[in-house]
Structure formats: structure tokens, C-alpha cells
């Protein structure tokens, strides 16, 4: 049964699982050195030159599984020895070049960087080339390939470059922790820090939820994950791990949609606040636009805040598809509400660290939010929810002109236009393509994920945002 998209995720998962397994038994520090051998038993290497390098890399993954480098403020880290130092050649003419007569590549090149040898075969003068890719587009044989590193190609905010030792390095002043590089690196050399030990500790110290209660706030994108089990079984599994109960982050999304639509009518122009990577992108790369960011908390923080109002000693752990959420919860404002963050990958590792067979569990229920809160998980859902919230609050005369930005590249295009051209009045920014269902912490990414989210939305007991949040509004905590 396929649990992950790639072997890289599988390896990362095995490390997380073994670290967690030992943490539950309080044997982590005694058995730490056994883990590399459990994961790489040998004697033959499978991915690298020898088992010793493979084990050394596992040790680095263990460090990240145990929280990573405390001196690095970024939640995304490069594992230097795992970086295969991919060539950084950029655009190159391959053997496919036929030495044709047309020389469209030369015509397309605005920098005069293409020249030909005596066989009419093209070459690129690297001192002139600016890596624009026009030649590649022009070649009718597809003979010009881009050998850019996958991590650099994945990083649309251009935070990744090559260090002096040729390993990848992350510019923290640009990185938005979206995790695209984590998911795209074919060698698994970039990884998100994990807080599983923190979560296990919170659960254990709760002493079966008697000292305090541990709540799981689950993102609606869970509907596209754990596809071989029923959602209700996953909820039972989360409770089996020791969580007191599970609440939908989508209820926070309903609350946010309600407030954000009102804020929009007051301010006239807003950029959304629910995707932490998008918010971080504005703060880091478009500081002049910070004033336009919606003042609402993210849906997870909004519902966590409410949970803490109903139960002040509670601990709230967000479970979702997002690596940027890990950066978000470390910020002062969010720390008050969210105590830790897990990805779906890490949730799978926690299930298996306790040998929990979720497929054999009975189905529990999860139903707090409306259709609109649930569809926040996919691109366009937030705008649909804001439109609905305007209608439900009698503010439909306000003309919503949403700009749905699907992926950080589209976000960039929209942000560049703000204040220059009239693009609309509500920028819905999602750093991951597809929205949260494209998150780097997802187990699997599939074409049907959007349909799964919509289906899950339709199943919600509450059909309107107002009815979902009326319970909260009608209670005076």
C-alpha cells in the first residue's frame, strides 16, 4: 500500500518513526546510536557510496527529527552531507543538437550568448548567458536543457543558492519555509525540523489528559490524506495516540472568513492571512505591503485561541500539511495559542511508532465546520468563503474582486501589481500550488485531492458559515 509519493519521504518517515518509538518508551537517549543501524542494516549500500555514509546521513536526519539545530532560526535545514552537489550548469546544449541551419536558438538569445562550432552545433557562452531559457523554448528539437538544481528550481522565492562547498544553502532572509525544496530534493538533503519529541512529551506529561488536556487541531486537507483509511479511523487513531479530542481547523477558517470579509469591507483592500508562507513572503519581500495583510489570525491559531478560552490549561497541537506552520507557531503572537505542530508525514510516523493499525479502528466523528471552512484547503476556497461570508452578513453589496493566487509564483505576480494596476480587492495567497493540499508535509499529492476536499466540504453537517460559528458566538466564555 502506497503511503508516500517518494522514497525520500519514506526514509524520512522511518527516522521519525524510530525516534518516536524510543521516545514513547523513554529509551531514546539510551538507544540513540542503534537507530542508524536499524534503518540502514547493510551490508550493501542502497542509496550512497557505502553504508557508513548512509548511516551518517541518518544521524543528521535524526537531529532534525529531534528538533534540528537550535541556533538556526529557520525550520528548514540543509543536510550538507546528504546534498549530492548536483551540477549547477544551468542551460546546456545537449547531444540532441542537430547542427541545423535555422539557428532559432541564436535568434532567440537577446544576450548574444549562442555561438556555433564548425559542425554548426550550438554552444552557450556562459559569461554572457543570463539563464533566461529563451533558447530552450526556441529549439525545435528540445536540445537545450536546464540543469538547474532541483532545489533551486523548486524555490520560487530564490532563497537557495550554492555554498562554497557546493552544498545547497538557504538564505533565511528570503526563505518562507514553504517546504517546496524539502519535497523536491531528489536526495532528501533538505528537511523540515520536527517537533515530534515536543508533542510526545506534551502527551506523556498530560498523564492521560488528567493534568491538562491535549487537543489536536486538524487541517481540512486531511480529507485528501490517509486515503486508504476512513477519516473517522484517522480521528480514532489520533485519540489513540493520547490526544484528548480532535477539532477541525476549518471551524477556525469559518471564523476567519466571517471576520476577514468584514475587515475587507472596512479597508477596501486586503491580502489573506491564512497561509503562513504567503504572509512571510510579504513581510520579507514586499515589506511596503505589510499594512494590507489581514489582521486576522490564521484559522489554526483562531480556533486554538478559542479552545484555550474554553479550557485555559489545554495544550493545542496543529496537525496539517504545512512546514511553514512550524515557523508560524514559533512566533510570539501564535505561541500563545498553538503549542506544537505536526505534519501529516509526522502523524503517520507517530501512528506507526505505536504500531497502531488505523485501518482496524472504529470510526470516530469529526464535524465542527461548514463546507466553506473546509474548502480553505484548496486554492480558491478562501475566496469562495469570503464571498459567502459577505452574503451571510448582509454585506453582499460590497463587490468582492478576488485574485486567487495558486502557488507562490502567482502570488508574486499579483503582489508586484499592487498599487500599480487595478487587479482586484482581495488577494488570496497560497504558497503551495493547489493550496494546502499541495503542502510539503502531505503524505501524498494527487490530482483527485481537490475533489476529496470538495466532497469532504459537502459532508459537513453545517451548511453555512453563520450556523457553524453561531455556537461560538452564542456562548460567552
Amino acid at each position: 500500500m502506497k503511503k508516500f509519493d517518494t522514497q525520500v519521504q519514506y526514509l524520512k518517515y522511518k527516522v521519525l518513526r524510530e525516534v518516536a518509538r524510543k521516545a514513547w518508551n523513554d529509551t531514546l537517549y539510551d538507544k540513540l546510536l542503534d537507530i542508524p543501524k536499524i534503518i540502514i542494516p547493510g551490508p550493501e549500500p542502497t542509496t550512497r557510496c557505502c553504508i557508513y555514509k548512509e548511516r551518517a546521513i541518518v544521524e543528521e536526519r535524526m537531529k532534525l527529527a529531534m528538533g534540528g539545530n537550535p541556533n538556526n532560526p529557520n525550520v528548514i535545514e540543509v543536510i550538507n552531507i546528504a546534498c549530492d552537489e548536483c551540477p549547477v550548469a544551468g542551460y546546456e546544449i545537449t547531444d540532441v543538437c542537430r547542427g541545423c541551419l535555422a539557428h532559432r536558438c541564436q535568434d532567440a538569445c537577446k544576450k548574444d550568448a549562442i555561438y556555433f562550432d564548425h559542425n554548426q552545433k550550438a554552444h552557450i557562452d556562459k559569461t554572457k548567458c543570463v539563464e533566461c531559457g529563451k533558447c530552450s523554448e526556441a529549439c525545435p528539437y528540445g536540445a537545450i536543457a536546464n540543469f538547474k538544481r532541483p532545489c533551486e528550481k523548486a524555490c520560487k522565492v530564490k532563497a537557495i543558492s550554492m555554498s562554497e562547498t557546493k552544498a545547497a544553502q538557504i538564505d533565511n532572509s528570503k526563505c518562507i519555509a514553504c517546504g517546496a525544496c524539502v519535497y523536491q530534493c531528489p536526495f532528501g538533503a533538505i528537511m523540515d525540523k520536527s517537533y515530534i519529541l515536543n508533542v510526545i512529551d506534551l502527551i506523556k506529561k498530560s498523564q492521560n489528559n488528567e493534568k491538562y488536556k491535549v487537543y489536536a487541531v486538524v487541517a481540512p486537507s486531511i480529507s485528501s490524506q490517509f486515503i486508504h483509511a476512513k477519516l473517522g479511523q484517522v480521528i480514532s487513531g489520533i485519540k489513540e495516540l493520547g490526544f484528548f479530542t480532535v477539532v477541525e481547523a476549518a471551524l477556525g477558517a469559518d471564523m476567519v472568513a466571517y471576520k476577514e470579509s468584514k475587515e475587507l469591507t472596512e479597508k477596501g483592500f486586503l491580502t489573506s492571512s491564512c497561509c503562513p508562507a504567503f504572509v512571510m513572503y510579504i513581510k520579507k519581500s514586499f515589506p511596503k505591503l505589510v499594512g494590507h495583510i489581514s489582521h486576522n489570525l490564521s484559522p489554526a491559531a483562531e480556533i486554538a485561541k478559542y479552545i484555550k478560552e474554553t479550557d485555559p490549561t489545554s495544550k493545542v497541537i496543529f496537525i496539517g500539511p504545512c512546514t511553514a506552520k512550524k515557523a508560524e507557531f514559533l512566533q510570539e503572537e501564535q505561541k500563545k495559542y498553538i503549542d506544537s505542530v505536526l505534519t501529516f508525514e509526522e502523524l503517520q510516523a507517530l501512528f506507526d511508532s505505536k504500531d497502531l493499525d488505523i485501518y482496524s479502528l472504529s470510526e470516530d466523528v469529526l464535524d465542527n465546520a461548514s463546507y466553506y471552512g473546509r474548502i480553505f484547503a484548496r486554492s480558491g476556497g478562501l475566496s469562495d468563503a469570503v464571498k459567502q461570508a459577505l452574503k451571510e452578513q448582509g454585506l453582499a453589496e460590497f463587490e468582492l474582486k478576488p485574485v486567487v493566487c495558486n502557488g507562490i509564483e502567482q502570488c508574486k505576480m499579483a503582489l508586484l501589481k499592487v498599487g500599480k494596476v487595478d487587479i482586484g480587492n482581495f488577494i488570496e495567497g497560497m504558497a503551495c500550488v493547489g493550496g494546502c493540499i499541495g503542502g510539503a508535509g502531505c503524505l501524498t499529492h494527487g490530482e483527485k485531492n481537490k475533489d476529496e476536499v470538495d466532497k469532504y466540504g459537502m459532508e459537513a453537517y453545517e451548511k453555512t458559515i453563520s450556523s457553524a460559528i453561531s455556537m461560538i458566538k452564542n456562548i460567552n466564555n
Partner: protein, 81 residues
């Protein structure tokens, strides 16, 4: 008096929303707004009860349905405040 009503998934599906509306209405009709505070909870650990979990002050968790609501409201709220 503090009335804590469960709004977690299981009770939500047993229509805790409607029950909250009933509580609000009855509190208003009996002019108890200043004496009774409605509070929420995301789980009281009694998900298998037939009705919605409700706790009056620090008492036991009760199972309240639309059918037994008025009887309970009279005994647990009106008689006590």
C-alpha cells in the same frame, strides 16, 4: 451559575447548536442573563451519551436532549439559581 455545553463533533451532530439556542431562549425568558453564563467545551468525554453533554457548575456531565431539556432546565437551573 456556569453551564458548559459540549460543541465537539459528537455533540454537534446531536444538534448541540439547537440546544444552545434553547438554553439562550430559556435564560432570556426567565430573566437569568445576569445569573447564568453559557460556556463551550470541545469534549466532555461522554461521547456515547444519547444527548448532548452539559455540565451545570461543577456537577456531573448530564445528557440533555430536546425532549428532556425543559425538565432539566427547571430542576438544574431555575430551582438552583
Amino acid at each position: 451559575m456556569k453551564i458548559q455545553i459540549c460543541i465537539g463533533s459528537s455533540c454537534h451532530l446531536k444538534d448541540s447548536r439547537e440546544l444552545i439556542e434553547l438554553f439562550q431562549k430559556s435564560i432570556k425568558e426567565n430573566n437569568l442573563e445576569n445569573q447564568v453564563a453559557l460556556m463551550g467545551s470541545f469534549c466532555m468525554g461522554k461521547c456515547s451519551n444519547d444527548g448532548v453533554s452539559v455540565r451545570f457548575d461543577e456537577g456531573e456531565v448530564c445528557s440533555i436532549t430536546k425532549e428532556n431539556f425543559y425538565k432539566n432546565f427547571y430542576e438544574k437551573v431555575i430551582k438552583r439559581v
